[in-house]
Symmetry: C2
Subunit: 343 residues, 2 copies
């Protein structure tokens, strides 16, 4: 089983990244621009598949003076809107860009999928069409939180509202592999998000998770971490349920906005427009991180914010490439295969 | 029942605020200094009761050149340490400052209690000695989150790890009364913290709470709010369980620190030390808000951060005074009494 995703990319040296050209608040303009910006930084062996209404995508491409050698347009006549119910939309719209892009990956004709469209639909379709790795109970959204140093990985950031201890342990494993493969942390540490450091703190699910993590030799568990530890580098991977993670992620996204508002109220224009301030806000800018991967599915699926600018799309393409090149999927499969034999 | 707390403060015009002089990382120096700083701003009718080891407190007072007319030292020979188990500590240390201070309030000889000591012990002792208002199932910690405009009230910020829909509805009522009495919001709006705006989002507890709040004529419910809405002023009162609220509060407390670190790395000293920057960080400074009240108990109990500086203690004394003067407890009792007759 573990070899399936590897053999796909092994068949040919070309890495094919599918991008939902109809996803996000500014589609198709922003995804197309993001793809073009990415091309110049991608290796020659990398191809971007733009999935969407062909006429619209080509019209957008025509606005740019760029060689379309490595940009393939794949027609998908339907669009899942942001406010549609995910499952109904996926079932009803067989030619939607989200469904077409993920079916392409399922068929072995694409290596990764990126969308800034309806998050629920991308999650549901990714799980449905790519399936989960054996041993993975639920997929998780892995979000990067900017810090003054290395970004902090928090999962789940919204794929699941309730999580069992076994599922949370699964997130610890998936997150550790991602931290190694894509973030370059050689021996990633895992913290369990809680309201106190002591083992007996928290609700029942969290207390039971503590025990599972503490007794799992495959996880470098550093114990409970609190809200105050996430940005301080206390651990590489912070594990929590998708309710808490989603609230935190969306909360943190507004903090840079609050800072900017306060500074604009109190500081001189010359300071606000200086290079120093630009560097400060670059650190806090989510689009630097591209998107959040849905981990646990047998493939690569990256979810971008609906309001992503083209730079975020470009960076998400980079994350997708790194996920494929690092053989993330083979490593996640191996992580769970080795666990099965132990537990 | 509703008149009990009112009659206490009605007996005499003197308002007596008990301060745990042994609580916090820098006790007794910081609480004593905070009390002295508060005195100059308090009305003449207000008295501060310093609870702690008498010799230690008097030695600290002697360092200050201040009239001790309105500072009463009340001896409490024991101290509950930060790392002690709350219930065992309260039961075992009958002469601890936390217990003495709250028993004083129970006996009608004090109107409010403030502590920067062991949070769990203060919560447990407050509930045990003051009791809960009839109709209140659980007390909640109400935390103020700084914003560019009016601060946002979030509860529960850590008193309860799991909350039933009925308890969450209780927090909405308690929080609304506090927002009116102490924050001066005439018709406070209430949002339910969730991972999406739609009614059907979230876990079961939150979905059921939505229904309760939407059908409660005593609450101005504005629906679900997301993490991104807390700082934007979408509602006056944000209701959530104590796990999520505690994680968010502790997370937010570190954000100003991160921001300061980034600015120090990137900006000139002259900018960092300027008045504009000072005003920015004053907005984000938790000590401006003093402490977080434990609401729902039949009395006034305010919990301060263990690392509170004296300004935070001073401001907590101001919050305590306002809580007593505004008859917060009578209003909370009345809020639940009127609900009982409706539901």
């Amino acid at each position: 089983m573990a070899a399936s995703s590897g053999s796909r990319s092994g068949k040919s040296r070309v890495i094919r990244i599918a991008l939902d050209a109809m996803g996000g608040d500014f589609a198709p303009a922003v995804p197309v621009t993001g793809a073009i910006e990415a091309l110049s930084e991608l290796p020659a062996s990398c191809q971007i598949q733009l999935i969407g209404r062909e006429a619209d995508v080509r019209a957008e491409l025509d606005k740019h003076d760029v060689s379309q050698d490595r940009l393939l347009v794949i027609d998908a006549g339907e669009v899942i809107e942001m406010n549609e119910k995910p499952l109904a939309a996926i079932r009803g719209k067989r030619r939607s860009s989200i469904r077409v892009g993920l079916e392409l990956q399922k068929a072995g004709e694409s290596d990764a999928f990126i969308s800034a469209g309806n998050t629920g639909a991308v999650m549901a379709a990714s799980t449905l069409f790519l399936g989960l790795h054996p041993g993975v109970d639920r997929p998780a959204i892995a979000a990067l939180f900017p810090t003054a140093g290395k970004p902090a990985l928090v999962l789940d950031a919204g794929a699941n509202v309730d999580c069992s201890p076994r599922e949370l342990r699964g997130f610890a494993h998936i997150g550790s592999v991602y931290a190694r493969d894509v973030l370059g942390r050689s021996d990633p540490s895992v913290g369990l998000l809680n309201i106190g450091e002591e083992e007996e703190k928290g609700n029942e699910a969290v207390r039971n998770t503590y025990e599972l993590l503490a007794n799992d030799p495959g996880i470098r568990f550093v114990g409970n971490v609190e809200g105050r530890d996430i940005l301080s580098g206390a651990c590489d991977v912070t594990v929590c349920d998708g309710f808490v993670g989603n609230v935190l992620l969306k909360f943190y996204e507004t903090v840079a906005h609050l800072f900017r508002g306060l500074l604009e109220r109190e500081m001189e224009q010359s300071v606000l427009r200086g290079d120093g301030m630009r560097r400060v806000f670059k650190v806090l800018d989510y689009s630097e991180y591209g998107g959040a991967p849905l981990l646990g599915v047998r493939g690569v699926s990256i979810i971008c914010h609906g309001r992503s600018p083209s730079r975020a799309i470009k960076n998400a393409i980079g994350v997708a490439l790194q996920s494929v090149e690092s053989k993330l999927n083979q490593h996640i499969a191996a992580e769970f295969a080795s666990r099965e034999s132990v537990t």
